[in-house]
């Protein structure tokens, strides 16, 4: 397995868990991403903050699919905000946007998740 090159920090906001992503997301990020997901505990929604994402390769996109499956299995919503135009296009290209709600800001994502 390749080395993790990103950090994932989780904070709670009401019933949502917000995961702040920094650095390069690759397949090597699996363990740290899943730990961040677990740290969100019993939250009803997981909100991924991509504002400080440096780079993501196809392995990283694959990880998001795995995360999505896990969230769906536990009836949690998965949302994202802070994506650059480029990664918005990648979400559209890979059709991840059909399953992950994409928002412009944290507030907008939390509103959509029903968290005030």
């Amino acid at each position: 397995m390749t080395e993790a090159t990103a950090t994932f920090e989780t904070r709670r906001q009401g019933s949502a868990g917000i995961v702040d992503i920094k650095g390069d997301v690759t397949s090597g990020s699996e363990d740290v991403l899943m730990s961040a997901y677990d740290a969100a505990g019993d939250s009803k929604a997981i909100v991924l903050n991509f504002s400080e994402l440096s780079y993501m390769n196809s392995g990283g996109i694959g990880l998001l699919v795995t995360l999505l499956v896990r969230a769906n299995r536990q009836s949690k919503q998965l949302m994202a905000f802070g994506l650059s135009d480029h990664y918005r296009q990648i979400f559209e290209l890979t059709r991840l946007d059909e399953a992950v709600g994409i928002h412009d800001s944290e507030q907008s994502a939390l509103r959509a998740a029903g968290v005030s």
Partner: protein
């Protein structure tokens, strides 16, 4: 100084974004169909990832180790890209794009099926860097997903890996995969990885296979994907071939 470093890092990331990822496309376009190939199940189709598939979601990983003294990860991936079709088992054809495996390029595939049938399909190169490349399937492919081919250093070895993240596209393919299709796919990739290792100079290398069911639920709302089935369309295409006027084709590259 740190601002300069930050700017340099941002520039580097932006350059990687532009170079390695395919540009957004709504539907696939096949500009040239090589002799022997058929673009019927690719041209005009949308891409379909694991989210759009019907069946259980699987992650299949095939790895083969080659002594690092024989080849580095970047050289292995470069060779894999250049000679991709050569490593496939006999009877299956990968019609590489004329420009090679580059982000956004579309390749046509002819897969041999029992009964001398050929399943015509294809893939788009979603992502390609020096140590990996990812192929994504169009609607109607036997599975919806992507395949990432990569190489890394592990100890003194260079480890080549093919990882497939997939769901059967529709109920017909789900049945077919369950009734031997998965086994056939495993054999396909094991043969491919063995051939790749042999080309790198490692004969008799064993392929490590790991299959994980990521999601055992089927997405029943996706049963209508059967409309795009490349198997059904390929069968109709083959059966009606004698009745179609011949058109000049671009010679195989």
């Amino acid at each position: 100084m740190s601002d300069l470093n930050e700017q340099a890092t941002d520039d580097k990331a932006a350059a990687r974004d532009a170079t390695y990822w395919a540009k957004a496309v709504s539907r696939l376009n096949v500009s040239e169909v090589p002799a022997g190939a058929a673009g019927i199940n690719v041209s005009g189709k949308r891409l379909a990832g694991p989210i759009q598939g019907f069946g259980k979601m699987w992650q299949k990983t095939y790895q083969v180790a080659v002594p690092g003294s024989l080849v580095s990860p970047t050289d292995l991936v470069a060779t894999w890209k250049q000679r991709f079709s050569e490593f496939w088992p006999a009877g299956n054809h990968f019609y590489a794009p004329l420009t090679g495996i580059e982000p956004g390029e579309v390749a046509l595939i002819g897969m041999s099926l029992p009964g001398k049938m050929t399943l015509s399909t294809g893939v788009m190169v979603l992502y390609a860097d020096e140590e990996s490349f990812t192929l994504m399937t169009p609607q109607g492919h036997m599975f919806a997903g992507w395949i990432t081919l990569s190489a890394t250093t592990r100890g003194t070895d260079t480890v080549a890996q093919a990882q497939v993240l997939m769901r059967a596209s529709d109920p017909v393919f789900e049945v077919a995969l369950t009734l031997g299709g998965h086994r056939q796919e495993d054999k396909f990739w094991q043969a491919t990885m063995t051939s790749l290792a042999e080309t790198m100079g490692a004969t008799g290398a064993s392929v490590d296979t790991q299959v994980v069911c990521v999601d055992k639920r089927r997405q029943w709302s996706r049963w209508t994907n059967v409309w795009h089935s490349s198997a059904i369309r390929s069968t109709i295409y083959t059966m009606t071939t004698p009745f179609r006027p011949r058109r000049p084709r671009v010679p195989k590259a």
